[in-house]
Amino acid sequence: MAKVVLFNLVINALVVTTLLTGCANRARDLPPDLSYLPVKERLLASDKESAEYCMTCATLETQLELTQKSILNVENQLSNIQASNQSKGSIGILLLPPVMLAMQNNDEITTEYRQLDEKKERILRIKNARECE
């Protein structure tokens, strides 16, 4: 009887572990609505303190392209992790539960994605405020 309880506990722990790794991460909250301001003033306080604020339109454009490339790269990494986790998940569920323990955590890459996404958004806001293009 004790073995059965232990077995069930192990199974439950594996399922919980599985669900907590490689989690989907929610989109960041939307910025405050600045549409009541003139275009040139639609910047956040943090934008004015950023390195991008001092850049010229041409540099901003280059930075935007680089950031977009990095985002694509990170997205590919995330989708590889997701594919690998799903394979391990299906094997774990159908054949060998301990395989689920090998599922990869994506926290670090997700943090990188968020930072890049914030940077892209900041560049876009500064470009708009400067009326670049």
Partner: protein, 132 residues
């Protein structure tokens, strides 16, 4: 020993079923926050005509209608993961219900396993209506 085997079988069946049931059909969730009353007459817009942008719109005046939040979940573990395109389609549908002309400030989450699906992706955006 028999009891252990029976329990093992029961656990396996329960886990398999719960996994299958968490993704039996294609499904989405959506939420609209900060809905602002508009003085303009509600004009029905078609989802396909709604403009999407990750930034702001600066060449036209607009009023904000509300903040949209959508989540697209994959069907079963064997289906492909939800994409940004699917999130965009859902954002357009929700914006159309508000009578919006565009969705600005779009941002996406990252695809991963959620409590309800083997693959979830969410997106947010601000529904706006151009001032006529």
């Amino acid at each position: 020993m028999n009891y252990l085997k029976k329990s093992l079988l029961q656990s396996s069946i329960m886990i398999t079923f719960s996994v299958i049931l968490t993704g039996c059909a294609t499904w989405n969730t959506s939420e609209i926050a900060n809905v602002r009353p508009t003085v303009q007459k509600l004009v029905v817009t078609e989802a396909k005509d709604i403009m999407l942008t990750e930034g702001d719109i600066t060449d036209k005046k607009y009023i904000v209608l509300g903040d949209i939040s959508v989540t697209v979940n994959k069907t079963t573990i064997f289906h492909p993961d939800p994409t940004k395109e699917l999130v965009n389609v859902k954002l357009k549908e929700e914006a159309a219900k508000l009578g919006a002309d565009a969705v600005t400030q779009i941002r996406y989450g990252t695809v991963g396993i959620s409590m309800m699906s083997w693959g979830s992706l969410d997106g947010k955006g601000r529904a706006v209506q151009f001032s006529h």
